[in-house]
Symmetry: C2
Subunit: 208 residues, 2 copies
């Protein structure tokens, strides 16, 4: 069996630490090579899944009109969100997506099961969580290829599904924007801006 | 900015591919060193989180009586699950957890927000998904330390929370078992057993 060493551990942590949520101002229009995209998607489907159900589906969105419609949905939802932050003027100045600037968007879906799934009998959410693990693998492998990913969450899943013509057997888990970047920030933008502080291990670990 | 190369991409995919969901029969009782556990948890909190909210909490469960109670909860829930698979005798022969065999259990929680979270205004599940990203990072870094992780999902979250004395402000996302192993299987056990087949990229990727 494969044994990893300090070099692997250090490199893995370096990739974790260098991964960023990339927004529009940092994306470049350079297309992602098919072979690179394939490797990134292979990484995604190497993720764990409950009962080995692999309940994921990846819709690569190239169609410009569909992306425009999804962008408009973002603008509408973000206007509502901005009202919730009306005491924090910083919010309105943030660029929170890169739907049109990035060369590729990917809608990541959860396919609802048509039979009983091993391990999903008590916690129904396990299938969705498997898809999130695939997204995290995708995000990390993209970073290892020096490609940025932004997860756009200010979108109503039902609207996105309608725009993309996705059926009821699927649930939208993540809408990702992806492309080469001008820069990966050295820290999360919201940390740099003082929006939130980084939590320490002491704050988030307890022993019982 | 840090640029990664083919070596990093290949090593990352090797870690993805070597990661397994480890069950009781493969765990060894060797304790995990504090320094190694710390590195694995640091990897977890390097995960992305919506609005940099870092809504995660890790409860390291060492108490034997609590682990016994969680094991009993598994046995009870798995008896119910087995009935759903009564036409598949293989189910009853599967060892689906390693709660008592592993030297460490970790309950991974989502802390519900007390203020509006940037990016979580439209999709409320984004906070839980952030915690899942942390679990995936933890899982990968554990593997890079040659430590196995099993995600035990046949447990009622409310029962686990009650056993561990966890308050209403938290939601259980994952209950993990962790330890050094006698073996990492070369493929997922459910693939080896023919329970499910591996899906190809062609089956799970569409272009629009």
């Amino acid at each position: 069996m494969r044994a990893f060493d300090l070099h692997a551990q250090t490199l893995l942590q370096t990739i974790f630490s260098a991964r960023r949520d990339v927004r529009g101002k940092h994306f470049q229009s350079t297309p992602i090579e098919d072979e690179v995209l394939r490797k990134i998607l292979e990484a995604a489907i190497s993720a764990p899944s409950v009962g080995f159900s692999q309940p994921w589906k990846f819709i690569i969105v190239q169609n410009v009109a569909k992306r425009e419609a999804i962008y408009n949905e973002f603008v509408s939802e973000n206007a509502k969100a901005a009202k919730l932050f009306d005491e924090t003027p910083l919010y309105a100045s943030l660029k929170l997506e890169g739907i049109k600037e990035s060369p590729l968007n990917i809608a990541v879906l959860y396919q609802k099961p048509t039979k009983t799934v091993l391990g999903q009998t008590t916690q129904k959410k396990m299938g969705e969580y498997s898809v999130v693990c695939a997204i995290q693998n995708l995000w990390l492998m993209a970073r290892a290829h020096n490609i940025g990913v932004g997860w756009v969450s200010i979108l109503r899943p039902k609207k996105v599904k309608k725009i993309l013509g996705i059926g009821d057997e699927y649930k939208l888990i993540g809408y990702l924007t992806m492309g080469y970047v001008s820069e990966f920030l050295d820290e999360p933008e919201l940390l740099k801006l003082g929006w939130e502080e980084k939590k320490t291990l002491n704050e988030v670990v307890e022993w019982v």
